[in-house]
Amino acid sequence: MSTQLRTPLKNAVGLGSAKHGVHHFIVQRLTAVALAILSLWFIWTVLTLLHLDYAGAHALIAQPFNAVLMLAFVVAVFWHAQLGLQVVIEDYVHTPGLALLSQVVVKFLCFLGAAASVLAVLRIALGR
């Protein structure tokens, strides 16, 4: 009986662990830690925005401190959302074509959401 668990093809091609097996786990935790901190700032900022008019709200987000944290927040949110939704789809969508399609759509939408948010924050911070 062979003690070799890998197939001959696997040995020939030489593909094995690329040391990236925990990458998803690590990035999910990294963005989670960022969001745990940024969420508190976000809640505080939204509560401050409530009693400001348009000009006041614009000026608040245009401040470099708030603009930078808002950029960090939207990037971390969409990165984290995309990782989480990926796992939800992996667990619950089992039809091969639909699973792949929904994964691609989620990744694209998260990128578009992040890009639109970044553009908006940059326009607020730099424009006018």
Binding site: R29, A32, L35, I43, L50, A81, L85, S117, A120
Partner: protein, 131 residues
């Protein structure tokens, strides 16, 4: 639907509900809800970037009854996902694995999410002048 209908073990329908199951399922559900809610954040930022008229439209939506219900729901979803996420991060570094701690922390997270939501909305109501 899987390509082949294989027999499945009866799981959710047969187990007694426990706090561990509730926090796990709600963490996923709130995560998906928050991802959807982020659309409003993107729209609000784009409106703030484009001008007072667009911002007034977003403000009108947020203060409408449907907007208020959605924002209240997303506040709770964020509070739960935040507190339960912190519980998960603490578990990732090795704290809170005893069953008694697990159950206690699950209840702290669940009750805490409502407390945090109430705190935030107390600020909202105070600023809106009771409206």
């Amino acid at each position: 639907m899987p390509a082949t209908a294989r027999p499945l073990s009866p799981h959710l329908s047969i187990y007694r509900w426990q706090i561990q199951m509730v926090t796990s399922i709600v963490h996923r559900a709130t995560g998906v809800a928050l991802a959807a809610g982020t659309i409003l954040l993107v729209v609000a930022l784009l409106a703030l970037a484009s001008g007072p008229d667009a911002y007034a439209d977003v403000s009108a939506f947020c203060t409408s009854w449907i907007g208020t219900i959605l924002l209240f729901g997303w506040t709770w979803a964020l509070a739960f996902h935040l507190l339960n996420g912190i519980r998960h991060l603490l578990q990732d570094v090795g704290f809170g694995y005893l069953p008694v701690q697990f159950v206690r922390n699950g209840w702290i997270v669940s009750i805490g999410s409502f407390v945090l939501t109430a705190l935030v909305w107390a600020c909202v109501v105070a600023q809106r002048g009771g409206a």
